[in-house]
């Protein structure tokens, strides 16, 4: 098992919270080809390797009692971007992944509501946003393409997964009588009939 290729660089990156995606070769291909072996190896030392349904890899985070300041910042930053994309009427994933973003044209300070939300997590200006994006780069969610330009990488799907989880949990609490999932079941049954 110790003959696993690129074991050390894989471990070195994953242990720091990095998400290995298709942009991270050759580690990504090695993990994709022998995921079960890597998972078993890391499990022996108490680490759970996750393969996301959108094909990227990361270590399962432990439920630490103390939450780093960066996590709420990343969450608020990402949720605002999604809220903005939804208001544009475009499919969210298409909006996030099909374009490069400019730091200076991000929507985060275009509305007072967004700015107030960011202030709650101590993000006050573009410099703070830049620091946040640097952190997201360190965990493999963002790639800088220039001084001001960046794009989101596949592991950003973790934010979408979280949003779906939040949406499902609020639906299950009965916040809304008519939910997307309820509609889905109706249409799926019709589709299967076909």
């Amino acid at each position: 098992m110790t003959s696993l290729p690129h074991l050390q660089p894989v471990f070195e990156r994953l242990k720091r919270g990095y998400h290995l995606g298709p942009d991270d070769e050759p580690e990504y291909s090695a993990l994709a080809a022998r995921f079960d072996d890597y998972a078993a190896y890391f499990e022996a030392i108490g680490l759970r390797l996750i393969r996301h349904e959108r094909e990227f890899f990361y270590f399962e985070p432990d439920n630490a009692e103390t939450v780093p300041d960066t996590l709420p910042r990343i969450a608020v930053f990402s949720f605002i971007l999604i809220d903005h994309a939804a208001n544009q009427g475009r499919p969210i994933e298409d909006f996030i992944f099909s374009q490069n973003f400019l730091l200076t044209t991000l929507p985060h300070f275009t509305l007072d509501r967004y700015a107030a939300l960011l202030r709650q997590v101590d993000v006050h200006d573009l410099k703070d946003i830049k620091n946040l994006l640097d952190h997201m780069k360190r965990i493999g969610w963002v790639k800088w393409l220039g001084e001001d330009e960046f794009r989101f990488l596949r592991p950003f799907h973790r934010v979408f997964s979280k949003c779906l989880e939040l949406s499902a949990s609020s639906s299950s609490r009965g916040d809304e009588a008519q939910t997307p999932e309820a509609n889905q079941s109706l249409l799926t049954s019709a589709a299967t009939k076909e």
């Binding site: 985070p61 990402s78 499919p91 709650q120 949406s167 997307p180």
Partner: protein, 407 residues
């Protein structure tokens, strides 16, 4: 009131842009709103907006929502004509198609009775009615198909900022209102197929029994019947195929947007402290600062190995040599009444106490004094003599003398 067709079409010819604007806006029109539309879409001829407004009502293009009302709407026949002219399709509701099917069903029953009675006139009437109903079904299905395709195209190209969740609600409306109920009506187990089969059987019987001699028309109706049956199912299956990917995409986006919006709403309403960990996306961060290195382990082991031996602590299990002070005080107090009883009556109790027990401190003297005064076997009373001072081991007391006697 009859309308002069020439006047009607002359007005329409001079105001096509205005008519289109009225049709596109739809709903109810106030006078002010109509005048605004007239000014924004002037006709070919020069005329006052008030004149156009008056003509719209005279020609019954706009009709009052109710008698005497100031509010107007586009007359239904005109709206249909404009839809036809501008190639704008209106979807047929499932209830409309179900109505046609019921109508066809009733006609078939009449046709069956007429065939049984070999009565040619009702057969011909039923045949005409069937032809008309089939044409309407075909036209309405086509129009619905067209409307759905237009709507799908509009979603894909829409530039206006309509939120994802709003789009999703609209697409769900189309699926639930038109596509799915329509497929239920026209699929193999639905009422349309059953009625069409019965109609086809009766038309075939009419031909076999030579009760209806217009064979080309009969053949045309049979062909039309089969065409609609196959066409309807294909059209709505296609509609579902058109809408389904859009629906899937919007459903996922809508759920993502909802999750993000709820998280932000909670942050806004309850603040960061009560936001909790639920909305956070956890990231692994292993911390090694508490894991000892080899050198640290070696050092710790060396300290254990090289630690100088030390004798174990010895427990003192023998009894204490001196009695505790509290015990001695208790014993002294307990013995005091017996000692006082041998010397009764005592004329000055406090004087007796300090004289007999000069080594006791003030607190102890007072404890003994109280013990004797309140003892069940003794009686204490003031002698009436003047107060005097009583020196103790650690101070001095001043009190009026008290006599202690036996009860």
């Amino acid at each position: 009131m009859k309308i002069n067709p020439q006047a009607f079409f002359n007005f329409c010819a001079a105001h096509p842009v205005l008519l289109r604007a009225l049709a596109e806006r739809g709903g109810e029109f106030s006078e002010a709103e109509t005048l605004r539309l007239i000014r924004a879409n002037p006709g070919a001829a020069e005329e006052l907006p008030e004149t156009a407004w008056r003509r719209l009502r005279e020609l019954q293009i706009l009709v009052p929502t109710e008698p005497g009302s100031e509010s107007h709407f586009l007359a239904e026949p005109v709206a249909r004509l404009l839809s036809y002219l501008f190639n704008e399709a209106n979807p047929a509701t499932p209830e409309m198609i179900r109505g046609y099917v019921l109508s066809l069903d009733t006609t078939c029953k009449r046709l069956a009775r007429a065939l049984d009675e070999e009565d040619i006139t009702p057969v011909k009437l039923a045949f005409d009615e069937i032809s008309q109903t089939l044409r309407r079904i075909h036209a309405d299905l086509d129009e619905t198909h067209h409307a759905i395709l237009t709507e799908v195209a509009r979603y894909k190209t829409e530039r206006a900022r309509v939120s994802v969740r709003e789009k999703f609600r609209r697409i769900v409306h189309w699926m639930e209102r038109y596509v799915e109920p329509m497929i239920k009506i026209i699929d193999a187990d639905g009422p349309l197929r059953a009625t069409f089969d019965e109609t086809e059987r009766l038309l075939g019987r009419a031909r076999e029994e030579a009760l209806f001699n217009d064979h080309p028309a009969l053949a045309r109706n049979l062909r039309f019947l089969r065409l609609i049956r196959d066409h309807a199912l294909r059209v709505f299956t296609q509609c579902r195929k058109e809408i389904q990917p859009l629906y899937e995409s919007l459903r996922r986006s809508s759920a993502i947007a909802e999750g993000a919006a709820r998280a932000l709403e909670k942050l806004q309403n309850e603040g960061l402290v009560r936001w909790g960990n639920e909305p956070l996306i956890g990231v692994c961060a292993l911390r090694f600062q508490n894991v000892p290195g080899d050198a640290a382990i070696g050092h710790a082991l060396r300290r254990v190995v090289e630690h100088p031996p030390e004798p174990p602590p010895v427990l003192e299990l023998t009894s204490e040599e001196a009695a505790p002070g509290a015990l001695l005080r208790r014993r002294w107090l307990d013995a005091l009444p017996e000692r006082a009883a041998t010397e009764l009556p005592i004329e000055d109790l406090l004087g007796w106490m300090v004289e007999r027990h000069p080594d006791q401190d003030t607190a102890q003297i007072l404890s003994g004094f109280s013990e004797l005064i309140f003892h069940d076997n003794f009686h204490a009373r003031f002698t009436g003599n003047a107060p005097r001072a009583y020196p103790t081991a650690d101070g001095e007391l001043e009190a009026a003398p008290i006599q202690l006697t036996s009860l």
